[in-house]
Amino acid sequence: MTLLTGRAVTKQYGRTAALAEADVEVAAGEILAVTGPSGSGKSTLLLCLSGIVTPDSGEVWFAGARLDDRGEAARAVLRRTEIGVLLQHGQLVPELTAVENVALPLLLGGATRGSAARSAEQWLDRFGVAGEAAKRPGELSGGQQQRVALARALVTGPRLLFADEPTGSLDSVAGESVLAALVSAAKDNATAVLLITHDATVAAYADREVHLRDGRVLSGVTA
């Protein structure tokens, strides 16, 4: 079943065609890697497909309903419930501890303090940072912040997670273990993932790959 469809999605910034008629489909539960060199339009694609940015033309469909022409409020609700978004630079709330950061989306959704904290702790544990629960982002390493941000993006059990370069580059065993944890969490929860990366090894963790160049989806790279 198709969960997300982008049809001829186009976005121009001044004279730059950041995205030119991009067609993308994500099936329910599928992990799709979006690869391409820097500046090829990967982040713009994520912003358009997740409803954060409105494309100039084209259509975005999520779970059978048009997404891109809905109002900002409706899109924001969707991003707190069925869609998780992890942007390129983490964005944890600096004043909150790791466990509070992860619990936040649940509290905004009306969960009780106790149950939110319990779920948050489980997700921190899943990503190997249970020991950092009481620390604030400023006290965490970059890799630990990424793990906390991933836990926060998944805690609401979204049907689709957008993740922009979630592990940076996979030079380390640590990055590899974060990715393995992300993939197994997504598979266990039937969460589809649109995984943005410039790194081929990261993309190899996905079920499928689409490749962008100059804002276009390159045909042929679909395996």
């Binding site: 790194d199 081929a200 090894t201 993309a203 190899a204 490749h211 790279v221 395996a223």
Partner: protein, 177 residues
Amino acid sequence: MSTRHLLLGLLARGPQHGYELKRAHDDALPSAKPLAFGQVYATIGRLERDGLIEPAGSDRVAGPERVSYQLTHSGRTTLAEWLDAVETPAPHLGGALLEKVVVALLAADRDTATRYLVQQRAAHMARMRELIQVRQTATSVSEAAAADYTITHLDADLRWMQQTAARVDALEKEIRP
């Protein structure tokens, strides 16, 4: 580098004799070692024996007679099949990937070179997925480390393919000015 396919690629542009082939080879691949005459003639001999090239004529300007060669039908087919095939993803492919891009540009065009890079990327990615499975189910550190060794090398190839795909136009201009 396989001199065999490079010479076939050069002959796809029209008949040439040994000396011209050596010059064209050295021009097309300035980063490779210049081809020795002995190697050119030995390769020509083998290609002719295998029916992939045939004499196209000879001239004698001054000095010895020079025979020029052309591709046979079988030579064209062999070249096209080789250009369509991906290399088996493994560490130490060395110059094989560059060689195929260069021959694709010599014998065909940038679309052929790009198509090859796209197919090779898909083959590498498929192998990467297998290796990641191996690593994740590895029962010993040495097994995981062995998988990592190949993953790291394939990753370097993939990065090179991406850079080269982005420069295929410039490379074509350099090879076929």
